[in-house]
């Protein structure tokens, strides 16, 4: 299940977690780019929690008489094939994407951390078993697994979350395992052994923090990916069922009208790209500001 979570760490989490001086933003702030990204994410959160605040018509109200109208003052993003206001649907769809993206990352991260830590701390047998499991997991394409999961449980946001979560877990597991093993061999741990500290104490104090903080950094990148994959599942018809507004599903519907009414696809697609990019950029900016190491 290789949803592409980069099993390598982002460069600025190495070297003890301090960003390179040239890349660090001044005075612990987010920097101009990070601030813009933060604003976008904040906007998305508002849209998810209180869609009505951001305007746009009722996402579910069907008005066949105004179907497929180009963007205008009344409908800034135009209308779709059922006359629904695209802007309203895009705003309303934020919740599904954001929630699935974040939850899927949490699921994947949690599972991955558990597996990876077990593999990293355990003896050869545990490591080998977990290793085989992740190998097999990597071998199966994400979509295959997601489709199977959804075929078993039926479509919907929860199965989509679980599917994407399980698909990304092996990536996290691999990272965590590598980090744990490196930390175990570090000179810090050796020194603690020389000082006579007990293994449990060493693990909790030195190994786990060194291994787990970088995962937070990776996870912020993972949320962006998760948002995209969740939309992909909806696009294929196995995510959030209609008529609930969901960006991927809107893109699927809009495909037929790609040439005649491109706005039905453009805006949902842009929304996906903008949200995913902003989350990723925000994650990087937070890391660089040194707030999370």
């Amino acid at each position: 299940m290789s949803g592409i979570v980069d099993p390598r760490l982002p460069a600025d989490t190495r070297d003890g977690g301090r960003a390179r001086r040239s890349e660090r933003s001044p005075g612990g702030t987010l920097g101009p780019v990070g601030t813009v990204a933060a604003a976008v994410v904040l906007l998305a959160v508002v849209a998810a929690v209180w869609p009505a605040l951001l305007g746009g018509g009722d996402p579910l109200a069907v008005h066949p008489e105004v179907a497929l109208q180009a963007p205008s003052w009344a409908h800034p993003f135009g209308t779709d094939e059922s006359g629904r206001d695209v802007l309203g649907r895009v705003v309303a769809g934020t919740r599904a994407s954001l929630v699935v993206g974040v939850l899927a990352t949490l699921v994947g991260g949690a599972v991955g951390v558990v597996l990876g830590t077990a593999a990293g701390l355990g003896g050869r047998l545990v490591d080998a078993v977990v290793g085989r499991v992740t190998e097999v997991a990597f071998a199966l394409p994400l979509l295959l697994v997601a489709l199977v999961v959804i075929a078993v449980t039926g479509p919907g946001p929860v199965p989509a979350t679980l599917a994407v979560g399980f698909a990304t877990a092996p990536g996290y597991a691999r990272i965590v395992r590598g980090l744990v093993r490196t930390a175990r061999r570090s000179q810090v741990v050796e020194t603690a052994v020389l000082q006579g500290r007990r293994p449990a104490l060493i693990t909790v104090r030195h190994v786990l923090p060194a291994a787990l903080w970088p995962v937070v950094a990776v996870a912020t990148l993972g949320v962006g990916q998760a948002v995209v994959w969740a939309s992909a599942l909806s696009y294929l018809g196995v995510g959030t069922p209609p008529p609930a507004p969901e960006w991927g599903a809107m893109l699927a519907d809009g495909r037929t009208y790609l040439l005649t009414a491109p706005w039905t696809s453009t805006f949902p697609g842009l929304a996906i790209v903008v949200l995913a990019t902003s989350v990723t950029v925000l994650g990087r900016a937070v890391r660089r500001s040194g707030a999370v190491r």
């Binding site: 052994v193 000082q195 006579g196």
Partner: protein, 534 residues
């Protein structure tokens, strides 16, 4: 015409001036040493001479000429035609300065490829000649071998070949012998000398005045970004004019003269080195063996550390000293043989059976920076060490103990809230020593404790170790390839060669009247290094 002429060189980073008004020259066939402590600005100066200053630095000079050519304000493109052709550079990190993924032969040939119009065949011949000149196998030019198949000394020689193959007028060597043991360092200096004898000017940058005392013609002493003294090396050595120079000379003399004139001891060293020589062993090893991938790294080594005495373990790089140290500490299990602590089993033993006694043995390593958890402060390091892992902060009586521990190693208690990673190398090592002594151990194992430090700092830390030894009566195992350091502190010496103990005896006897050829070789190398070319 001078090979290098520097006048009024100034390097700035924004508003801060890092190097101020530096002036000196290098003549053809002459060796000039640019000497100073870390942070004195010598590396910045060297980089400026090559046009390799880091981005963000501004370089100004009244005059900067390479072989008569004005290189101020040269565009990067012009600089590229100068580097490698007019000036060769041998960097300080020999281990990483050869691209590990590229054949060594190609690396050496680069300067020819970039600056001459030789055909491939001609280049191969030139490279073969250059390799032979530095004492390496000429086949290296074409057999595609990578850097990791060469030892540290061989790599450094290959770097010199790469820097000199196009016969540049000036060769700049930045810390060419740092962390290399004496025998290897001698060969490196000899290669540089050979380039010098072919007519090139040689600029050696180093923190160790003792190194260049024998090899350089003139010395330029840098401190705080300016030149504080310069002149012929003998004169500077005999009559230093500036405090910085004095510190450098003192550090150098401690090594040079001790090795050359063993009777000349500092007045404070009235220690009776034979006391306690017959006491029962505190830490004893018997028949230790360890093999890695079929190669024996340690072969039947036995030793005894007695209370309050210092055992020096010397040998060339790769002789197995570090492995012995790690086995003594219980970090690695011997394949054969045992280690006992005060008569009780120590290795091989499951860690849980050793844990209760860990406070009796401590360790100090070459690079302590990596041993500090990056999230901990100085305060936490010592609070943790003094309270056996229980405390994170130093409050009440513990705070006093932490301050005392800091003062004992010469650190200011004001450093408590700092992160160890922000301290200088010398300060970090002092902190590591404080941590090691926190549990009042009976034995401390030190593995190259001062090798990575500046000469002046080495001097200070060794003095500290001597003082602590006298104050606490702790026994020490001092493992190092640096004979000068061991000579100062050790009562007894063990010489290790290819994993075996080849000589053992009181320090005075071993250094004055060595018996085994390997010991003789090590001593000679150290003398040669200090004395200069034959």
């Amino acid at each position: 015409m001078s090979v290098l002429q520097v006048e009024g060189l100034t390097v700035r980073a924004g508003d801060t001036t890092l190097v101020h008004d530096v002036s000196f020259t290098v003549e053809p066939g002459e060796c000039v040493a640019l000497v100073g402590a870390s942070g004195s600005g010598k590396t910045l100066t060297a980089r400026a001479v090559l046009g390799l200053s880091a981005a963000g630095l501004t370089v100004d000079a009244a005059a900067l000429r390479l072989d008569g050519r004005d290189v101020r304000g040269l565009s990067e493109r012009r600089w590229r035609s100068v580097r490698g052709a007019l000036v060769g550079y041998v960097g300080q990190e020999a281990l990483g300065a050869l691209d590990p993924l590229r054949p060594v032969g190609r690396e050496v040939a680069d300067a020819l490829r970039l600056h001459t119009r030789m055909t491939a065949a001609e280049r191969v011949d030139a490279v073969r000649a250059a390799l032979t000149a530095v004492g390496l196998d000429p086949d290296l030019a074409t057999d595609g071998r990578l850097a990791d198949t060469l030892s540290g000394g061989m790599r450094q020689r290959a770097l010199i070949a790469a820097a000199t193959v196009a016969s540049p007028a000036l060769v700049v060597a930045d810390e060419p012998t740092t962390a290399l043991d004496a025998a290897v360092a001698v060969t490196v200096m000899e290669q540089l000398r050979a380039a010098q004898e072919r007519g090139a000017g040689l600029l050696v940058i180093t923190h160790d005045l003792g190194l260049v005392a024998g090899w350089a013609d003139r010395v330029v002493v840098v401190d705080g970004g300016t030149v504080v003294e310069q002149g012929p090396v003998d004169r500077v050595f005999a009559a230093p004019g500036h405090p910085a120079t004095e510190a450098l000379v003192r550090a150098a003399r401690t090594g040079v003269e001790r090795t050359a004139r063993p009777d000349d001891r500092a007045a404070s060293d009235t220690r009776d080195r034979t006391a306690g020589a017959d006491a029962p062993a505190l830490l004893a090893a018997d028949g230790l063996c360890r093999t890695f991938a079929g190669v024996p790294a340690v072969d039947d080594v036995s030793l005894a550390v007695r209370p309050g005495r210092v055992l020096g373990v010397i040998g060339a790089s790769g002789s197995g000293k570090t492995t012995i140290a790690r086995m003594l500490l219980g970090l690695e299990d011997p394949d054969a043989g045992t280690v006992t602590l005060d008569g009780g089993a120590w290795a091989p033993l499951p860690e849980r059976d050793r844990r209760a006694r860990r406070h009796r043995v401590a360790a100090v390593v070459q690079d302590p920076g990596a041993t500090f958890d990056e999230r901990w402060t100085v305060e936490r390091v010592l609070a943790d060490a003094l309270s056996d892992g229980r405390e994170r902060r130093a409050r009440g009586p513990l705070a006093d103990r932490v301050d005392d521990a800091l003062r004992q190693v010469g650190l200011d208690p004001a450093l408590r809230p700092r992160s160890p990673r922000t301290l200088s190398g010398g300060q970090r090592q002092r902190l590591a020593i404080a941590r090691a002594l926190a549990t009042e151990p009976e034995v401390v194992v030190l593995d190259e404790p001062v090798t990575a430090l500046d000469a002046t700092v080495q001097d200070a830390v060794l003095t500290l170790l001597e003082r602590l030894r006298d104050a606490t009566g702790v026994a020490m195992v001092f493992v190092s390839h640096d004979l000068r350091a061991v000579r100062r502190t050790a009562d007894e010496v063990l010489v290790v060669h290819r994993g075996r103990v080849v000589e053992h005896g009181p320090a005075a006897r071993v250094f004055d009247a060595p018996e085994h050829p390997e010991t003789v070789r090590l001593l000679r190398a150290a003398e040669r290094l200090a004395a200069g070319p034959a």
